[in-house]
Amino acid sequence: MSTAKRLDVIGHARRRVDGREKVTGQLRYADDMKLPRMLHMKLLRSSHPHALIEAIDTARAQAYPGVHLVLTGKDFPVPFGIMPVAQDEYPLAPEHVRYVGDPLAAVVATDEQTASAALQLIEVKYKPLPTIATPEEALAQPEVRIHDYTDVGNIHRNQAFEFGDVEEALSKSDHVFEDLFFYEGDNHMAMEQHASLARAEGEGKLTLWSSTQDPHYLHRQLARVLQMPAAHIRVIACDNGGGFGGKCDPAGHEFVVSKAALMLGRPVKICLTREEVFYLHRGRHPVLMKFRTGVTKDGKLTGMHLQTLLDGGAYGSHGPASTFYTGVLTPLTYELPRFKFDACRVFTNKPACGPKRGHGTPQPRFGQEVQLDKIAEMLKRDPAELRLNMVTQANSLTASWLKIGSNGLAECIRQVVAGSGWKQKHGKLPQGRGVGIACGSYMCGAGVSIYWNKMPHSGVQLALDRSGQVTVFCGATEIGQGSDDVLAAIVAETLGISTKEVRCITGDTGITPIDLGSYSSRVTIMMGNAALQAAGRARDMIVTAVAEQLEVLPESVVLSRGRVFAAGDAAKSMSFAEAVVYAESKFGTLGTVGSYTPPKPPGKFKAAGVGPSPAYSFSACVVEVEVDEHTGWINVPKVWIAHDIGRALNPVLARGQVIGGVYMGLGEALMEEQVFRRLPPKLSSALVHKIPSLLEYKSITSLDMPEVEVMLVEDPDPNCPFGAKEVGQGPLLPVMPAVANAIFDAVGVRIDEVPLTPEKVLRALHLKREGKNPRVGPERFPDVPYPEPTFVLPPGEGGDGNESKMAKRADRVMERSAS
């Protein structure tokens, strides 16, 4: 059949498949579940930031009326962690608590009120330890050990990569820019607080309903921690009330409710409070960054040395990946012949950081884009032109061996420049008003799984029967991003039916084929490709059967709008259901599968697996600001953003993702911060989350949100289903630096730190008035003992993608000893 078929579903604005459930209150999130004889669980959390547990006495709690079970760390001998290299966390801390909020005991009772009351009866004897509040302290005090599995003090991960001789490139540059930036940590703040419900079933089997983005990884970890066969465990990811990365890590409470349900033979539920969500955290890492970037006088980059220092909090979480991500995606947007990055993650006595929308990349993106603005200023070039002049090309390899496929960055820049009236505004608005531009790029799914294996990253199964019903099964998880809608749309388009005819069954490890989870913007591409394959196979069966029946060539059979017919012969036509009957008659019970495995990454050096992706999205953003020169007060009247999405499968949802990304980026730019408070050390050793509430952790309200003008750039990517690239994370990236650059355009001050608060702007304005460097931002970068880099020759210099241990190494050792 002809492949250039008109698209009936894809690309059209449509009610999302789960729309109705969401607006009627029918959709069941994890905490909405209720089972007969269900019990409730609450956790006791450490009130010390760092301590050894000397004793726990649970006797009084156990005896409290209504209490069914009390669990402590000794009930959980096996640790967990999402990454195989960071299994450093226990469901309940057995002997060592590492931050205020670290869970250490659990009570299961008839209701939450009773469980809470009983928690107060648990007596814990702590032996306080010295605390580490910042990365600087972590480096300076290696003798205070938050974990004992690290090689050096509190350094969790430490890595360095060099693609081509960066020092040489810098020394040959016309200018070298050196800048420090800091990006404060922040929380996902999904509106739904994490909840889980566990039920023991059958012969020692377990079902867990949970607000999780990654049921598959949770499933594996449950088997490990509970020491049960994975096949006896079923994880059902309920629709998430927002995730943003905050529900990717398996969480302590998921293991504890499971164990409790197995021990009691009764369903057990827990729902975290908002404060507990801030403790579970796994949010954006605070990152200190140093950029040394070489440029030619005509505005081309020559090389960049990026150093990052991540404040990891108390546990590993996704840290090993997060650490890489503060470097690896940097070269995607602009031609950069040589690139070096050093990245170090340290432990501190605070809730663990992890993946949040943009995972590890918004921080360096902020630094890179603000530094480019400074470069443009110094070279007296228009910042948009400067960028356009150096964008990476489609079908190219970066110095760091990332393969870029389709690339709409230049078009994104052109569209936001035109749409925002950039040329009439930049440098030309009255004092106090300004515009800033920035770009970004993001992966469409991580090229390798979190644990090493050769199996597909996503699988889809399709069942069709004579009633005409189509059911599609996939492990992917709906977190609000619209993955069920993508799944239904791809199947519907391929089979020529409407999305209403497709039932999606997703996120259930007991009945759906494995999909790795809703993270790294991988679902549309990976699940989508798997769905395309499964649906294509079903279509082929239908076509074969129908062609036989209608006595036409299979090539002429068309599936469209619920009909199956012969092209050009109106008389030869039947309904989709009738067509399925023929197919079922011919082939027996119908079912197909599809799966997707991403292409092998082009780099071959160790760790070359982090960063590669089947495709990359690109975006460009212009932000307009008004800054009050007396107070530093910042107002954002409007944002323009262009996003290269490849193809918008459902434009309503795609635009929603873009606006949502801008919203979250603006929040990070202007107000969101997960910050901590230490009391005067002489009086107290407390180290607490400063503001664990929705009132004081500031997020943007409807009144603070500017109008966003969205431009979707559609240049279908051949690696992606119907050409569709990601849209869930990329559009957040350029927002923060665009705000900072706009503030500079408005009042001539540089805020090299996120969030960009009025207080910082006013401080910089004072410096400006005093004739000093009008900049607020970090002043120094500590000595970090980065390792000797893995050296890889860039593709442009004849590299083969392997680590090269040649002459270069020796040169460097000599250089070092000379200096």
């Binding site: 107000m671 509430s693 009025p758």
Partner: protein
Amino acid sequence: MMRLPWFQYQRPASVAEAARMLAAEGPRGMLIAGGTDLLPNMKRRQQTPATLISLSRVEGLKKITNGSGLTLGAGLTLTEVVGTGAVREKYRGLWQAAAQVASPHLRNMGTLGGNLCLDTRCNYYNQNEEWREAIGYCMKKEGKTCWVATASKRCLAVSSTDTAPALIALDAKVRLVSAAGERELALASLYNNDGINYITRKPDEILTEVVLPQLDGWSSTYWKLRRRGSFDFPLLGVAAAARMAPDGSVLEARVVLGAVSSQPLPLAKASEFLVGKKLNDEVIAEAGVLAASRAKPMDNTDLDVYWRKEVVPSFVGYALREIRGDDMRAMRMRISRQAL
């Protein structure tokens, strides 16, 4: 889920009955009006009354009397206050303050009386029990030290009511009723500069009404500093009211700051300074400096404490310029993110 502790509940039908119940309960009892301050505090175990005496069915607390001046029942919700024509037209500062309290839903629930009796706030105190335990509590409840200023002998929690500064600038009085009798006092005297004993209302008294004088020829305004256009408590409130001569010189003025102390802060000096002067830019700037010298923000709310002090003159300036008759709509949109 954050849940309330157990409590007893009483629902009187009249002020007299409520007063009797309150007297009988003693310090174990607390009044509940909208509950939007008290219930979060109870859920966090900051306040743990054994008995709640509800004002929800008490007769007469929603009265609006429009005689000379205006009398507003303490039980009116803030939405009802905002919707009262006389407030909007004649007591604009109150209207603007009430319209900026919390969020629309909270204004539908929270009452004027509750707003005036609002507990003082501090981000070492407005925290869950577990959090406060982690810092060893503080002077305001169960602890000894004030963490905001460890040498301080008193609690420095912040008076965070929006309507009180506006009403004080409008020279409002309040009526307090107890089983023993009733009294009327200037709203300004309802407060102490002490984060714990912030209110002079006796534990057995019920605030029943707010009495506003007739204010012919006065104009008033309220400017609020907060991070977002909604939800947030004030980090600074500037209420100003003035009566001007036809030539534009000030005959009488009252400027009151909110959220920079444990009580609303009437600025006598700055107010006197304005009298007899025309509100030109220099006069406004000087009044701003005078105001700032009284503001003592502490590091126990949102945003940087030095910055909060530094912007006092600007906010006083917005208020006085609005009183002068400048078109402040654009600035209002930038600061408040809504037209007021």
